[in-house]
Amino acid sequence: MKRRTILAGAVAALALTGTAFADGHAKTKVGFVYVGPVGDGGWTYEHDQGRLAVEAEFGDKVETVYQENVPEGADAERVITQMALQGADIIFTTSFGYMDPTNAVAAKFPDVKFEHATGYKRETPNVSTYSARFYEGRAVQGHIAGKMTKTNKIGYIASFPIPEVIRGINSAYIHAKRVNPDVEFNIVWAYTWFDPAKEADAATALIEQGADVILQHTDSTAPLAAAEKAGNVIGFGQASDMAEYKPSPRVSSIIDNWAPYYIARVKAVMDGTWESVDTWDGIAPGMVEIGEITDAVPADIKAEALAMEAAMAAGEYNPFTGPLNKQDGSVWLAEGETADDGTLAGMSFFVEGLTGDIPN
């Protein structure tokens, strides 16, 4: 269906090149490139909610197109190029692996605006990057996980060894360790953002090794399904609320709220005020939300978690506040010092206490 729309669009764009651009479009065309299906119930689902919010906000003035399940790599470049050829005015590419393809296509289409999620490369003036400080949510998760675990083993399903994922592991670990010095993290690298079968296997392996809390940085609900099957294991919604697993195993969640950002950026294109920016928002502006903490979590732990969330929302607390050491024991942050965005953006080391190496 989508593929057909896009093919038809490409044909139309070829036929109309010149005319369509000359009249400056009656509608602003907004493209979205998704790494998973819109029904994943996680990462892509929330981006699609953002797309729908853009449609709701501007009604007839916008037209949105999207393509789901776009592999990271060469295929992505083809898809982005096609969207640009179709006459999209602004294209949101919503996964880390689209970083180079986005920049490559942007260089060829200087009049189209590109917005790349979670990356850091802005090689041409028509590329912006945006991301959310998910690690603030991970801090809350880590706190709950550290307090709730009885086996002191926490399983972590990591996707790819990129800074965003490493930040999440570090943030969760620091806050779990703070409330439970005996806590241990077992990390499985799944090398996928979305593969329910693999995620379920990884979760099952972690549970069999005694983990009774599963944290996931992959996008499907399969790890929660595995936790439910095992019983006595809790987990968290990733990127989306994953409310169908309430009240347990899903005891809370990190929700990405992209709608305000998408609306603002599309508005900027309409007004002609769009500029290349690097946006990195957290809990305070509402880009990261903490989903309802269910009654499976005792009231006092819930209160502490909410207090931490409030402190981050008020800007009083930074999850990466010293004293913190790197894995090899060297000092990273001195007492009271907080991490700068540059270090965080390129984070490639574990903090002290985590075991195992980060794969290359």
Binding site: P37, F194, A200, S220, G356
Partner: protein, 310 residues
Amino acid sequence: MDLSSISPTLLIASLMVAATPILLAAIGELIVEKAGVLNLGVEGMMITGAICGFAIAVETGSPVIGFIAAAAGGALLSLIFGVLTQYLLSNQVATGLALTLFGLGLSSLMGQSYVGIKPPQTNKLDIPVLSDIPVLGPILFNHDIMVYFALALVVLVWLGLNRTRAGLVLRAVGENHDAAHALGYKVIRVRLLAIMFGGACAGLGGAYLSLIRVPQWTEGMTAGAGWIALAIVVFGAWRPFRVLLGAYLFGGVTVLQLNLQAAGLAIPVEYLSMSPYLITIAVLVVMSAKRGRTSLAAPASLGRIFHASQ
């Protein structure tokens, strides 16, 4: 690294679960090949079974009806292959490959509205008393019914092939279809039934993935399991119990490598991920090389087109 955290009991229990989809598909394909037909469409039939079973289980709320629908879906798809190769005499290799591609496309079309939905839960059998036996309990008596079904199927297929008249006819058709035809056996009918049996088994294997093991529907979720099943039939030298061994070996290494990773073993993840494929191939090659003649156990008419006029 803490290898002591890996529990052998749980490992064996979960390798049985991990191996079940491949085992079901492989045992079905074994019957197909024993009848002299090479159906390379296992992957396509598996994934079609996965979505048929998932969709029907979600709509009816019953996993059992889902599994029946999966078998029916797989069999129906295999019937396309059967008609093309048996009546229209098309090339089996090309038709099988086409069936895989067709199945993958068809399933993602059918599955459009089922992404991200939770299927009804299939309960574990949890036999009282028996499942509480230490070590043996969790390994043998604490699975869902499909694990036992797959094991029973292996035994039944072995009995059927080696101890019944029908099995003899099936093997005769697979070894020499002209002779079987001369004896008055309906070669095409036997083969069509075998193909449908294979399709139904592959469908069940796929549904096991989408309804129990994952449990969720996503495009391409079989991720090559059908090809592994095909390979296991060949390496297992067309013998039911050796196919069982191959499937458990593959399932076992798949589960073990995840456990090793979770335990923090200092081997690069990439090597661990490829290990199930390497080890399964290596072990089965060594096994079939040793016995000399068993490596030649392929049914003599495998992949050959039959027409009564010849």
